[in-house]
């Protein structure tokens, strides 16, 4: 993975010093709260319901074991012994004190980490495919691109006071695991159909929130060397022309929607043509320098499948189940990409204790070249696992309650912190996730249901990605109580789709029943081997709607 050079190191250290100075100037009144707020947000510091919150950037979801141990330490020393992995592959602490945050940032800088641009109206921490570099369907590793963008977007003089937040995601694979179509800019590395050269397909104007939209392709194939100039052109058009009169209309998706993708593209291309590319772009040697850090580890030569693994699976059905559900195909023979579920029954989705973080760090050292990934689904990945080691890992994880075999299944729920923590939330998310998990706790039944993504947001900002959940749940307030709106048919993959609302909002206690009914329709209607989302696509919403409405005791 990427390592800081002297310049990166100094940059991050200076940023900590700058924040320390900003806190001091807030306390002495030089900065008002209105002025300080965007400055602290751009360093990941929110004021939530009960306390401040610190969101730490995990660029494109890649972590070393050393970094994970440092997060565990910070969690113990300055927080309450746990952290929360987010849908943007970051980690947030829920209880830090503002007075301690500069010291926490020092500890982060010690391991080449920071909180830069994890919030605020700027280019946010870049996300990428969590199987980058190891996925079988990959054309090119997206991480060098993501790292280049991380550096380029950091403290950008021109684009730090945008109309609204701006999110960029990168994938290099055929299957989209980075939800690129729901980002302000989605980049997909692809081969040119004629020349075979790798370049970027660029989508702009995707996003969830109040007005969910799927990104539109503005460039089929941008030569790799032109990336920064093209991004600069997009950002300049947006910065000047994005709406600033209404916060809910300020994302680039609204600009693209209002003037049309064609006109938006024309303006970007006009600006791009006028830019002096060579004075803006990174030179090829710099791109190579970054890419070299992402060279694959020294893989052992192994047979395609491990006989040890097969034997262990035959002897232990629970292990076999876990090994099948939680692993993904790997480029290297005999290896697998293992997902560690942070969705055990009864825990807040995405939460991990300091002890659990240390355990995962230890396992990564022993079995995965000391590397860990964070997924947008709030799980962790060990990217370089020998198949024959899976059993030993499973045993170790099991002792820490981390061996849930539910990745991609109905209890692998994405949920934002909701009103249990978040100052913006209108309703709770975590207890809803827990109630659904409880309802579907039976492993055999969960296996029978198969792939099904439930995503829960506690407000319209949609941090829980509810719009692109196969089943989406949005928590709102209706006449003084929490009310949950259910959507169906969303999809976060390359077939990106926004879910449709099934009916009126439900009180919290009725949500598990409603999910049960929806699943019931699927089980009754599916044909052999058909997944939930495929059945929804084939039979449409109507059967689900009627089942839902029979059950629904809407919040009056």
């Amino acid at each position: 993975m990427y390592r800081y050079d002297e310049f990166d190191e100094r940059f991050v250290r200076e940023r900590v010093g700058q924040f320390r100075d900003q806190v001091a100037r807030r306390l002495d009144g030089s900065l008002t709260e209105d002025e300080f707020k965007p400055l602290r947000l751009k360093n990941g510091v929110y004021l939530q319901l009960h306390a401040y919150m610190l969101r730490i950037a995990i660029p494109y979801g890649t972590l070393s074991s050393r970094q994970l141990r440092q997060l565990a330490l910070i969690g113990e020393r300055y927080d309450r012994g746990y952290g929360h992995f987010t849908t943007r592959q970051n980690l947030q602490f829920n209880w830090p004190k503002l007075r301690d945050i500069p010291a926490i940032l020092d500890l982060l800088a010690d391991v080449e980490m920071h909180g830069i641009q994890t919030s605020g109206n700027c280019i946010r921490n870049v996300t990428a495919d969590h199987f980058a570099g190891v996925a079988q369907d990959e054309i090119e590793d997206p991480r060098p691109t993501a790292e280049l963008i991380r550096q380029w977007s950091s403290l950008h003089p021109e684009f730090s006071y945008l109309p609204r937040k701006f999110k960029i995601a990168v994938t290099g694979a055929e299957h989209d695991r980075a939800v690129i179509k729901a980002h302000d800019i989605g980049l997909r590395l692809r081969r040119h159909p004629d020349t075979g050269a790798v370049g970027y397909e660029i989508s702009v104007g995707g996003g969830l929130g109040r007005t969910p939209m799927i990104g539109k392709v503005v460039r089929d194939h941008l030569p790799k060397g032109d990336l920064l100039a093209y991004l600069e052109a997009i950002m300049r058009v947006y910065n000047l022309e994005g709406r600033r009169d209404n916060k809910y209309k300020a994302r680039v998706k609204i600009l693209v929607h209002e003037i049309g993708a064609e006109e938006f593209t024309r303006r970007v291309e006009e600006e791009f043509a006028r830019l002096d590319g060579p004075s803006v772009n990174a030179d090829p040697a710099e791109v190579e320098r970054i890419a070299a850090y992402f060279a694959p580890p020294a893989y052992e030569t192994l047979p395609e499948t491990s006989r040890t693994l097969d034997a262990m699976k035959a002897a232990n059905p629970a292990f076999a189940r876990w090994a099948e559900v939680n692993t993904a195909p790997h480029k290297a023979p005999g290896y697998t990409a293992l997902t560690i579920s942070l969705k055990p029954l009864g825990q807040a989705p995405g939460d991990a204790t300091s002890d659990q973080m240390r355990l995962v760090a230890d396992i990564a050292d022993e079995f995965s070249h000391s590397e860990i990934r964070v997924t947008h689904a709030q799980n962790l990945v060990l990217p370089y696992v020998r198949q024959r080691d899976l059993f030993a890992i499973w045993q170790r994880l099991g002792e820490a309650g981390l061996a849930s075999a539910n990745v991609g299944l109905i209890t692998d729920i994405i949920a934002c912190p909701g009103l249990d923590y978040c100052a913006l939330a209108t309703a709770r998310s975590i207890p809803i996730a827990q109630a659904i998990q409880q309802r579907f706790a039976d492993a055999a039944r969960e296996a029978e249901i198969g792939a099904l993504n439930i995503k829960i947001s506690g407000c319209i900002n949609a941090c829980g990605h509810h719009h692109v959940g196969h089943i989406g749940i949005l928590g709102l307030e209706k006449r003084g109580i929490e009310s949950y709106q259910i959507t169906l048919g969303g999809d976060a993959t390359e077939n990106a789709a926004i879910g449709e609302i099934l009916g009126p909002g439900l009180p919290a206690e009725e949500v598990p029943d409603a999910i049960e009914r929806i699943v019931g329709v699927y089980l009754a209607q599916r044909v052999e081997g058909e997944s939930f989302i495929d059945t929804v696509r084939r039979i449409g919403l109507a059967p689900f709607k009627s089942a839902f409405q029979e059950a629904a005791h809407a919040v009056a």
């Binding site: 306390l27 004021l47 009960h50 503002l98």
Partner: protein, 118 residues
């Protein structure tokens, strides 16, 4: 400078977050005492009339201006077993803590036993 928002129906209490710590704090003190901040919601001063609410609002404005707290506002409450309880569920969570973690926050006595007065 963030102003104190519109007054809710009475009775009401004043809450805020401590600027340096982030903890939720409540305006506390008797009719004759000076107003101070406490971390214990049970000790929150309840304004039952406009005059009392005005006093809390002035205190909030002064404390915001003095850079001691942020996000100060009045919250309408009802009195249950002698203690003020916010009517709105959002504000109730602020006086308790995360509902999925009864071991954390004010419901677990966080910052209360060891520091009745902030």
């Amino acid at each position: 400078m963030a102003a104190v928002p519109k007054r809710p129906p009475l009775p009401a209490i004043l809450l805020a977050n401590d600027l340096l710590d982030g903890d939720v704090v409540f305006a506390s003190g008797g009719a004759t005492d000076a107003i101070v901040w406490t971390r214990d919601p049970a000790l929150a001063l309840v304004a039952t009339d406009d005059a009392a609410a005005t006093v809390l609002e002035s205190f909030a404005a002064a404390e915001l201006a003095g850079n001691r707290v942020v996000d100060a506002y009045l919250v309408d409450v009802e009195i249950q077993s002698g203690a003020p309880v916010p009517r709105h569920f959002r504000e109730r969570f602020k006086t308790l803590g995360p509902s999925n973690r009864p071991d954390l926050g004010k419901q677990a006595g966080d910052g209360i036993e060891n520091g009745r007065r902030a």
